[in-house]
Symmetry: C2
Subunit: 748 residues, 2 copies
């Protein structure tokens, strides 16, 4: 556990708490907090603070935190202050807390960032003050927190959840309050509830570290609207998810349309895709809605993880079993095929009309004993990874007895997940409650059990893969470190190309510059050089060899073909000369104001399969890498996969390729030969490193990259540099520093 995480444990188990703004008035938040602290059975000292009161809910009330006497054997100061006074006076209260050496503040008061610029300034000031005084701050504009194991309820939410092992960390206070209220009727136990409010200081990554190391937390749930430091969050998540499930409901898909998108990759990689890629790579399970979040949480917290995806169904009726089968198949899970012994034993015991194959139908008149026998047999079968048991209350069904039988089986066979689906109302309520109390999730409809099972399987697979990757990474001699860059790549041509662009105040590299950058990073590119006049073009053409393609070189012309700026298949010098002149004439006529840099003379490559490798920068997570089917179909079919470029590894690249339909073409589609996937993987890896080493690349499109039976070749590349990056991180006033050579040196 890191120092900070240890530190946070005091926030959740403080020795004493001051409530600034405590109130006698039951309508006030300051009353609710004191009441909640008392009712939660909080074992520490509670100090209400209010200059106008003597006593609140039977507790002595203090004029100010300064008046609270030191407590404990060693005269410790108060650990935590909960502040519930108008926003304008919060900073003053924080000052008094600092003076009294209080290490944690929870500011529930609203009126900060969420109300506009004035509140924003107040919040900034408050956060800066806390930082300066080394005080950790939760909120402002939050509901507070709950830890059921301390126990402590330092919030103004009604009710106190049942003790359990789920930590729910929410960016929405209202949602938290709703879930606390709901948790009781849902029969879900929690260890922590945290309302993060405006996240002026403490945010999701802090609580991730804490919950990751906290023994009372078995599952970490988030409701998030944004992530403060995406890369940090993922880095932590990757290690924690290897041992503890992290399930995130992320709201607020940001509108891709609002961003300036100048490349294919940019259009393909909306910000929500960045979240998906990020979560996936770090083993975080993303869910789509509230119901899924809690259905999964309940399964995760109580059930062993399935080691595979072969699921058995035991049912007393056909219809629900068919529905469950459908949904298992839709989720990509498998219906287990029992070993012959299992079928034989089922046959010997069950009535002749019972189905002894999967789904096992123990029939409408099934007794508890019949359920028990069938469940035991399928749980024993090594061909089964998980079991869903279904029940409909027929005329003869004794649901309560059957529920007890399920519990008995569970006790004996606890290595595999066992989920219940009891469909009905009053008839099944007692049985359902029995299962839930014993930690067996019991859903009303099959689809929810299937979703939970699917989530568990996905998590197990992800966590296993991530553990393997982490282990592999530690021992990999080929592992790349930023300081190995110079061994692997010749960065000078890259810097030189960027330098040329900057000097000409361009953010877009010309094609031949892009080709040079790729070559420097070991990505083969079609030879290409810039010619300013016909003679130069023919000379270059002779050097690189025919056939030749001519392309107008102007970063301002987006669709070169449309204005006749591209001519392909030139077989000799006279054709090159002739077309060079014609392109020049056409271009000048069509767009007289566009800036020309000349014409690129490129070697024409033989046809190959067209793929795209692209990258775009995401403010939250850094560079995304895109791979998929290239050419003109790229935006039509969006047959692409995405990952974060940072730390992209071979295993990730393998997955990326397999996720696309392009993969089928690569391995030889309808009789054609398989293509050179190893070279393609190498190219993707090198592209990832290129944007990681040069984060000033805002967007990059290699489209198409031609894949051959042997080798690959980039034919068209567009690299756009980041204006912001250049100016902010490395302020450059005009070209001074650049010219002084600092730019060329700064990265490595």
């Amino acid at each position: 556990m890191s120092e900070k995480a240890q530190h946070l444990s005091k926030l959740f188990a403080p020795g004493s708490i001051a409530v600034i703004g405590a109130s006698q008035n039951p309508g006030k938040v300051g009353y609710a907090i004191v009441k909640n602290l008392l009712e939660s059975g909080y074992p520490g000292k509670i100090y209400p603070v209010n200059p106008r009161e003597k006593k609140i809910l039977g507790l002595k009330c203090f004029q100010s935190v300064k008046d609270i006497p030191p407590s404990g054997k060693n005269g410790e100061s108060v650990d935590l202050a909960v502040i519930a006074i108008p926003a304008a006076r919060v900073l003053e209260a924080a000052r008094e807390c600092a003076h009294s050496n209080i290490g944690f503040l929870i500011v529930v008061s609203a009126g900060f960032k969420e109300v506009g610029s004035e509140g924003f300034e107040l919040e900034k000031e408050l956060a800066a003050f806390c930082r300066q005084k080394n005080i950790r701050l939760l909120g402002p504009n939050c509901v507070g927190l709950i830890h059921t194991h301390t126990p402590v309820n330092a919030s103004f939410a009604r009710g106190f959840p049942q003790k359990g092992h789920i930590s729910f960390i929410s960016q929405s206070g209202a949602m938290l309050v709703s879930i606390i209220d709901w948790s009781e009727i849902a029969g879900l136990g929690f260890s922590h509830f945290v309302s993060m409010g405006n996240k002026a200081d403490l945010h999701e990554t802090d609580f991730l570290e804490y919950a990751g190391g906290d023994p009372s937390t078995k599952v970490i749930l988030y409701y998030l609207e944004d992530i403060v430091d995406g890369q940090k969050f993922l880095e932590k998540a990757r290690f924690i998810s290897a041992v503890k499930p992290i399930i995130v409901l992320k709201a607020g898909a940001s509108p891709a349309g609002a961003r300036a998108v100048t490349s294919h990759t940019g259009a393909l990689a909306g910000s929500d895709d960045a979240y998906n890629a990020a979560f996936r790579q770090s083993g975080v399970l993303r869910v789509d809605n509230m119901e899924e979040l809690f259905d999964m949480a309940f399964a995760f917290v109580n059930q062993p993880l399935p080691k595979g995806n072969r699921i058995a169904i035991v049912t007393n009726s056909g219809g629900p079993a068919i529905l469950t089968t459908d949904q298992l198949e839709k989720a990509g899970l498998q219906m287990a095929r029992f070993s012959p012994e299992t079928s034989k034993e089922l046959r010997s015991y069950l009535p002749p009309e019972a189905s002894i194959y999967n789904p096992v139908d123990v029939l409408g008149d099934a007794t508890a004993e019949r359920y028990k026998f069938a469940l035991e047999k399928v749980l024993q079968d090594s061909e089964v990874d998980g079991v869903i048991t279904l029940l409909c209350p027929t005329a003869t069904t004794d649901t309560t007895h059957i529920a007890r039988a399920v519990l008995e089986v569970r006790k004996q066979y606890h290595q595999k997940p066992l989920l219940g689906v009891f469909m009905g109302g009053k008839e099944i309520q007692e049985g359902q409650a029995l299962l839930k109390e014993a930690g067996i999730p019991c859903y009303l409809f099959p689809e929810r059990a299937v979703a939970a099972m699917d989530g568990m399987i996905k998590y197990y697979k992800n966590a296993t893969e991530i553990r393997q990757k982490i282990a592999l990474q530690k021992s990999d001699p080929r592992k790349w470190e930023p300081d190995k860059t110079e061994e692997l790549y010749d960065t000078a041509p890259v810097k030189a190309a960027f330098y040329d662009a900057l000097r000409e105040r361009r953010l877009v590299l010309l094609g031949h510059e892009g080709a040079r950058v790729l070559s420097a990073f070991n990505i083969p590119a079609a030879p290409s050089r810039l010619a300013r006049e016909p003679r130069e073009a023919t000379r270059i053409a002779e050097e690189i060899g025919f056939p030749i393609v001519l392309k107008i070189a102007s970063p301002k012309i987006l669709h070169k073909s449309d204005i006749g700026g591209v001519v392909t298949g030139l077989a000799n010098t006279s054709e090159v000369e002739k077309h060079f002149k014609e392109i020049m004439l056409r271009a000048q006529r069509v767009t007289p104001d566009a800036s020309f840099y000349g014409i690129e003379v490129q070697k024409m490559m033989p046809p190959g399969m067209e793929v795209i490798i692209g990258s775009s920068y995401d403010v939250q997570f850094g560079h995304l890498l895109v791979f998929g089917l290239g050419g003109i179909y790229v935006n039509l079919f969006e047959d692409v996969s995405l990952r974060l470029a940072q730390n992209l590894e071979e295993a990730d690249i393998e997955e990326m390729i397999r996720e696309t339909k392009a993969y089928h073409l690569l391995r030889g589609f309808r009789g054609s030969s398989p293509l050179d996937v190893p070279s393609l993987k190498e190219a993707i890896l090198n592209a990832a490193r290129l944007v990681t080493i040069f984060p000033e690349i805002r967007e990059m499109d290699i489209n198409p990259l031609l894949v051959y039976e042997k080798g690959v070749c980039a034919v068209d590349v567009k690299i756009t540099l980041s204006h912001i990056f250049m100016n902010d991180t490395h302020p450059i006033s005009e070209h001074e520093e650049l010219l002084a050579g600092q730019f060329a040196e700064r990265r490595i």
Copy 2:
């Protein structure tokens, strides 16, 4: 209402009921049925029948149905007999019922088709007997039926549902029982429950007709595993769904892999796709799971339909509103943009921190009045089609008051759907119950309200379109009728081609035969003729003009290119002659046992956009038509849309094309010119009629059909005839009848 439907109304409101197999033993089904009849308040006469009892539950028991005296003024016989005796004795009981002139039987007894071949025979016999005696039969192996308005509970399910306007017709008895039990705690009212059991006689289409015309039914729900007569069901559904929603949960996606698939279209059109196409064309809403089925039912039964997809949200908290917005956008619905007046009025009344744009945030401390004001304003706004109101129980929320306010608003503004989402547990239960009682669906989580709203919008759109289509159809002078076939098409070449194939005992047409079939149905095809030797080939080539493609003609060689059986771009007679000989040599060497018919000489068409038009026969619904991107990508991207060929209309074809990504290419993608969509539509229409007029076409692939800026042209066509069809429907012993010319005449 048809005669049969009128007839069925007696099944649901019988004047008297006999229970054959009635029992005194509370563990028996025959006891449960009598008890249910009594407890349901059934107003008619109940006659328990059991030779071993005198009285059952206070009712006089009869030895046999024969002993039941005629009742009523006119001495009517019993209307309905419910039979609950062992399967082996059911037929005998049915005989007695026939003798006593009983018109309806419900056979709850199991032991029929579901237990194997012996039971299957029993069932066939029973069904045949009933048919002969003009008795309608529900079951066997069913739970029975309920009509809450009669009221009558002629089932052995526990409990009696609340009266309402949902009819639930289920192929699974257990599921029905579960839902009856659940309906009480869910607060859902029903008019009918029907358990169809083995569907030996009465099936989904019978109940569709009945429920469609039944005034107590507002929404028709189905749980189905198969459909007995797909085409009939759809025909009825199309007219009923125009006025009453039909929602289907269809289980048991049949494995496409199990069918013999010899064409692209066959692979694309799994049986489940046939259901999707069928349901869509007939306005049936298909849902994926139980939860959706009932969430929608509750919305449909009580709420007015949204006239558009612009949804407003009124909330007291931000988080859930963001989630709802996400989910609305994911479903393709729109966030309403309020008129300036609405925003102005909201601004004037709501606190300054409140958000007056959509979602309207009335803040955490919102009173009932604030909710009421905001809801009134957004419901009044003509830019809003539907409203979802969200509530989280904050410290100051008076949920019950707010629920009452919502009800008041609803009373006044009842033209638009209004759905509630109250998130929480105890705190919201009273408010939630108030809304539900008043018919306002109140969900626990936002996703479910969004799914219900989406369902209503889809239904409204579908129903409107179908009404328009029906009206259009009635008045369309161009409307096609089977007897117009000869006016429009020259069917002789089609029959001739089929005849040739049959004579040679082939089921697959050769390419040039296929081309002839298409041409006869006004689908342009590249000229193609069969040559048996080189001279013939050169002569044909000269006649149809160069360039020429040669293709080996053998229905047994699936991938002609792989064995070098296709040569393109032949420019003159000597090339044709040379390659003709080479292909012959290659083919004979590679596959000496394949049967050759010669080589097809086809005119080589200029390149165009490649699409596929295909058709495959589905046992349930007849011919499916497939349209999509053609060429080699067809199975990779599966960019296709499906419809039933029967009665396919222009509006359907327009939709079909728009559903595909190929559409973007057709209308001119990235600077290319738009292609001839009208000609394409015509080709699709003609293909649909071809397979409708000639149902003996089992599968047809026109791939590719080239689409040009002007015109279309089929380049490759594969037509497979149905063996079964030829033999079963029109038994042909060898070629006798064929040769007698009957085959050529029988269709028209």
